[in-house]
Symmetry: C2
Subunit: 466 residues, 2 copies
Amino acid sequence: MSISAFRAELGDIPQEDNPRLVQQRSRDHYWYSPILKAKLDHVTAEVVVSPRSNDEVKTVLAAAFRHGVAITPRGAGTGNYGQAMPLSGGAMLNLMNMDKVLDIKPDRVRAQAGAVLEEMDHQTRAAVHGELRFHPSTYRMASIGGFIAGGSGGVGSVRWGGLRNLGSILGLKVITCEAEPRELDLEGEDILKVAHAYGTNGIIVEAEMPLAPAHDWIDMIVGFDDFMAAARFAEAVALQDGLLVKEVAPCAAPIPEAYFNRHKPYIKAGQSVVLIMVAPVSAAAMTLFTSHSRGEMLYRSDRASEEELKRLPPVYELAWNHTTLRALKVDPSITYLQTRYPTIDHVEKIVSLLGDELPMHIEMTRQDGIVTFAGLPLVRYTTEARLEEIIRIHEDNGCNVFNPHRYTLEEGGMKRTDQKQLDFKREADPRGILNPGKMVAWENPDFDFKAGKAWLFDGLNPVHAA
Amino acid sequence: MSISAFRAELGDIPQEDNPRLVQQRSRDHYWYSPILKAKLDHVTAEVVVSPRSNDEVKTVLAAAFRHGVAITPRGAGTGNYGQAMPLSGGAMLNLMNMDKVLDIKPDRVRAQAGAVLEEMDHQTRAAVHGELRFHPSTYRMASIGGFIAGGSGGVGSVRWGGLRNLGSILGLKVITCEAEPRELDLEGEDILKVAHAYGTNGIIVEAEMPLAPAHDWIDMIVGFDDFMAAARFAEAVALQDGLLVKEVAPCAAPIPEAYFNRHKPYIKAGQSVVLIMVAPVSAAAMTLFTSHSRGEMLYRSDRASEEELKRLPPVYELAWNHTTLRALKVDPSITYLQTRYPTIDHVEKIVSLLGDELPMHIEMTRQDGIVTFAGLPLVRYTTEARLEEIIRIHEDNGCNVFNPHRYTLEEGGMKRTDQKQLDFKREADPRGILNPGKMVAWENPDFDFKAGKAWLFDGLNPVHAA
Ligand SMILES: Cc1cc2nc3c(=O)[nH]c(=O)nc-3n(C[C@H](O)[C@H](O)[C@H](O)COP(=O)(O)OP(=O)(O)OC[C@H]3O[C@@H](n4cnc5c(N)ncnc54)[C@H](O)[C@@H]3O)c2cc1C
Ligand SMILES: Cc1cc2nc3c(=O)[nH]c(=O)nc-3n(C[C@H](O)[C@H](O)[C@H](O)COP(=O)(O)OP(=O)(O)OC[C@H]3O[C@@H](n4cnc5c(N)ncnc54)[C@H](O)[C@@H]3O)c2cc1C
């Protein structure tokens, strides 16, 4: 591959090659994982390219194809698994210059891939009182393209499920990496070829998403002396069909008092909490339900002073992976897992087995129509072996783990090849230039996921010389 | 009781005493049940009183209290269980003159009890693009007060659950039946005292309801050769979190071809169907899901001609108790049951046991957060004994039956006293004047619901002389 020949063909498309800046842009939140941190710390691209239009994206991809330069797409770089890290060096394709909201209808919005989620909601709220059905807790930074390519769900998933559900994404415009890059409009099931494929088989340049009605969501924090009481309350809230909520997340003590710095004054020692976002129309019913359930209303944003509202982050920035982030800031030895507890009894079992080694954090979500405990427990990390043991303890007790300490699609997820994604990569990225090393099925079709070893990408090299 | 003394105190409040008209207004859809038909056919009030304001309601109730005249409130009279029938004669209190929408906010609407549901939606759609979360299939006739006092849920319950859920009703204004009638504003759990109490413990004069976003719902009818395939598809649709649907109802052959007169040309012989209402934003995903599930798209309103749209009733008027109504019109020997099948296997079991004696009709609903099969199967009625047997077959196979052949609150529902409703009746209707005979706990606190006999109200008399 020849980076310089590649770069020479890009005309006035903005490029950045200051090594420090390039390295910054070559990273995501991989460092949440001590394991990924060790493996990926040295990874960096050689240049960041920032196209401003679909045509410029085509120019970049055609040049990359010709010269065999690895291309790693990047939105805001808030992914947690090193998804956006350029394992083979080459060029970062920064999409954040393509950030326009293109079209707003009462029930849907179309935007460029680099549009930031919060900004999209800002515009759709003003135009049609609509907002995205759900968003990651990185709402204020993350791009719609990065969310679709690398995320799964988030705030709102308790009502709407996640990205992989039919109907959650209405359409994508994707550019292929070929001698003559094509623009493809994907709809219906074709969307699944590219969604959550880490950008390995096409560059998303536009996305059309359904809108839900916007509400002036009220943040509530409800306290319980006992975590299982909090978890039971959270489940009951999520099962209340008449209560319009956007977020329900129980967090075990000592998470709230130890890591929610700004909210500390509201939380008693030893208290577990449930983080809630509720629509004004359901606020009275929620208050009633809370007091019936003997929950203590520690905070509600609709009763907060101007000054409190300014000082305190929104509740969703205590939730999802922000819980982990806040813990990491206080205690860098902490990491986390992604789990799924089929029932409250499974939650109780794991809590009783692992105690404070695994401070429990759950996101109530709907999965295939069923209210589910999606776990994002913190882990007081000691060794990789112990982490594997904790995963095994989960699996032995009938709980699923989606390993966030892996940078490949397969190992973090379903532990098998997604044939649709692989087939589409053959078509859309025949030279295997897009985000190399992230799709095991492409690099090493015979890899045995059951053998229990992490797959290591051969091309995981130090920076190439140009 | 002295009807004439009572009437003399009403001033210019409209009264009607033409016996034929009064009898018409003394009836609801009790005749869906051959059992209720036999028991209640002779029931009639002596006068219909139609107040136009809260003050006039108070005047009526104070006079009734003084003179011991039974008062039976009535909305549109579309109830199915004789709820609105004046078992002790007396006066019908017609609320349909109090039909104003009082206040519309982006997320809620407040209306007088006699407001017709369709008209409420009409106004809220225009004002804030909102609509009621769910409505009975008698949408075009039923009143909000009658729905709250006598209904349970309907079109939209697949997403939002039913009236009894916390948060489904925001507030009620109720007038008590005392020497000096009081106006009470009920909120929170107090609402449950009066909701679904058949007007036995207070007259609802205003209601505040939450709004959901309005959509231009698309009607779809999907055909399957096999009913269980239709039922499985219906469940799968209801479980798809990303598909925004308002109605999902599988109906077994021969219901569609035999009873859906106007839709007959669309339906093949022997076909079972699933009735669907889907939001435009989910239409493409629904079409995809349908073809994947090998369903045949028989009809969709967004592809229908002007002429078809004029000729065909909306899909929701094939569903809920409209299914029964359409069957009854063709075959007067038909009646129905209200059931609940915990799982699809229960559905299959009952279908295999009862076959065409019980043409199956299911409404997919959410109940306490769980997608459930709410059955409204037709019954080819022979004898009361056989009907009881069919109920027993359900119960023996772990399926609940809510008996629609009973006119009391308890026997149709939970088979036990609702203590809150009873306590509130003591307070709000100390003389027991409101809708006598409908609350067993009031009339006969010691009645044994388990003995298997229907309770018969003593006061179920022919018309009193004035
Ligand atoms: C504190 C914190 C909280 C988080 N909470 C959540 C959460 O609640 N839910 C959730 O799902 N995730 C969560 N994440 C992960 C991540 O923030 C989200 O998935 C986010 O949407 C990613 O968007 P991004 O623009 O930062 O994407 P990036 O990190 O830049 O990219 C993500 C992946 O998509 C690829 N990609 C980016 N843009 C494109 C494109 N246009 N075309 C093709 N491929 C592309 C990248 O190569 C990478 O593989 C969280 C992360 C952090 C650090
Ligand atoms: C074809 C058909 C389909 C139906 N589908 C559904 C359905 O999908 N879901 C459903 O829940 N029901 C259904 N029903 C039953 C009924 O139509 C609804 O419950 C409807 O909402 C009743 O409204 P109404 O105005 O006709 O009430 P009415 O029948 O007039 O009254 C219902 C009950 O409430 C009392 N009442 C009426 N107004 C007041 C008031 N202001 N204050 C106190 N008490 C009052 C009456 O005394 C009576 O006991 C159906 C009935 C038919 C005939």
